[in-house]
Symmetry: C2
Subunit: 356 residues, 2 copies
Amino acid sequence: MNSLPLGSSIGILGGGQLGRMLSVAAARLGYKTHIFEPSAHPPAAEVAHAVTTAGYDDIAALQAFAASVDVITYEFENIPTAALDALEALRPIRPNRRALAISQDRILEKDFLTSLGLTCAPYAAVQSLPDLEAAIATIGTPAILKTTRLGYDGKGQARIKTAEDAAEAHASMKGAASVLEGFISFSHEVSVIAARGLDGSVACYDPGENVHKDGILHTTTLPAKLSPSLRSDAILLAARILNALDYVGVMGVELFVTPQGLIVNEIAPRVHNSGHWTQNGCAVDQFEQHIRAVAGLPLGDGARHSDVVMENLIGDDIARLPQILRENDCAVHLYGKAEARAGRKMGHVNRVIRKG
Amino acid sequence: MNSLPLGSSIGILGGGQLGRMLSVAAARLGYKTHIFEPSAHPPAAEVAHAVTTAGYDDIAALQAFAASVDVITYEFENIPTAALDALEALRPIRPNRRALAISQDRILEKDFLTSLGLTCAPYAAVQSLPDLEAAIATIGTPAILKTTRLGYDGKGQARIKTAEDAAEAHASMKGAASVLEGFISFSHEVSVIAARGLDGSVACYDPGENVHKDGILHTTTLPAKLSPSLRSDAILLAARILNALDYVGVMGVELFVTPQGLIVNEIAPRVHNSGHWTQNGCAVDQFEQHIRAVAGLPLGDGARHSDVVMENLIGDDIARLPQILRENDCAVHLYGKAEARAGRKMGHVNRVIRKG
């Protein structure tokens, strides 16, 4: 396997908290990181070797960035195609373009997952109000209308309680292509943080159980409430997705647990908020796992030494920091963001459950 | 308690691996770090917000550094007095000057420890060859002659097997003030990583058991072989040292285990190589504990969720990296040093012992 020599540089598209924690993991493995980020003073800049501040339409900046690194990865999936074209001409992008294309488009994603024999919520592509009305007639209500592209943390979504909500929901998409998803009845959500190496080996962490608040992940708890057979299903299903994509890196796979088995909610071709618990539950966390994969190193096996409850600190939650710092067995991870806006992820805590 | 606001900057004297790991811990708590280091491209620079490359005799650079930060700490104890004077005129230095002065001088250190009722190996100050001969007559052989100042990892030391070695040993000190230490018969060495907060609270990690190779720490194993009463003695003794110094920060206290009880080998007023295991054994590691202390935050309680064996990667040990990366439950921490010289600390691994 062709692994990056010590001292090599890994380019990361995006300078948020995920890029920040990827940079720290890369440093721990003896690599440098170079962050590409349009906004000034991104969280990752504090702990990275180099930072380029430029937009994704600045092809010269992208080319200089690519030329300065040995491999390119990313912390978010909504990267413009032209930018990817410019980068890929110079350096490998891991995970690959196909994984990105699929996760950038909810219809492509659901078509892909369904083609693997996996179950998704019922869905239909919507371009026009008549499309939407027809989709509601087939899928029923309640349902949720989402833009096909660029969705993140509940943005670009409209709930449809009855058929009469159709016009308003359609208008809220502002002409963007969208997808109607049927509601499904599930008891809880789990996610699998899965990794695939350059050599094709796959390693998964034990699924965590997610609780959302106001459309944003609130807590992830390990272990999840899952029967042994569903736990095994979850991991095999994630591995099937990674193998089908010839994927290299870490992926987050969100699953609904239903009486009929697991339903795939969505996949994210990157380290994932629901995998932050691994920082204090495993010898090799998801950030290091991702760096190992894109650098061509052997993967960690994903074993968990401790149970963990991860809690996101959103907006004003950061005001609880003085109390949190007094808790025992509580690992604090802040992102260095100056201003606590509503809905902004300021940090997270991992509460470690010590065994006897 | 007057704690540093989020986004404050912590100045660190020294840019080696300890400064590097302190910088990562500071970032995790939402602080920036500024490294002061004479040599170019120090390991800490990769993960720090700012770096000043200047010598400790460059008073203007020291003053600019101090003015740019909110508090100053250090990763090594041999900082020139004039530099400390310049810095302390502008910003608090934590741990304080007294702790530094004592640990910079083996005689002061032993006098201090003895004054607290703690036991050290027999010792005598040596300026001249007649001093040394008299000391050998009192203390006996074998013994070890060490420079009073600037000792580190076996440098500046000469073993004295018989009285006839006196002249050669004295000559090897090159005129530096030195101290003769008697050998003591001990079964093993342990160290306590202890911390004291700005509010005077003390928290200690469980003692680790150290094995040295060629005068350099090789492994630290948790838990150490220690009876409950010696474990308690070790922690109380460390707390006594910290309280006597009105200390703020993490200190490493090396102890010899003998049939007569614990003998203090030496103290280091900083995070310590024998505390690296805490990165994968505790929710709050020694680096974060030190940053919490110097920033005036509450200390973590030092509880251990997992047993750990830490192994240093010295010089060519780094060539074993491909095998090490394939081990399960093994956390790798590299320092980003380009060249593997003999005796150079390149990184360490923490092997986590999973329970049940």
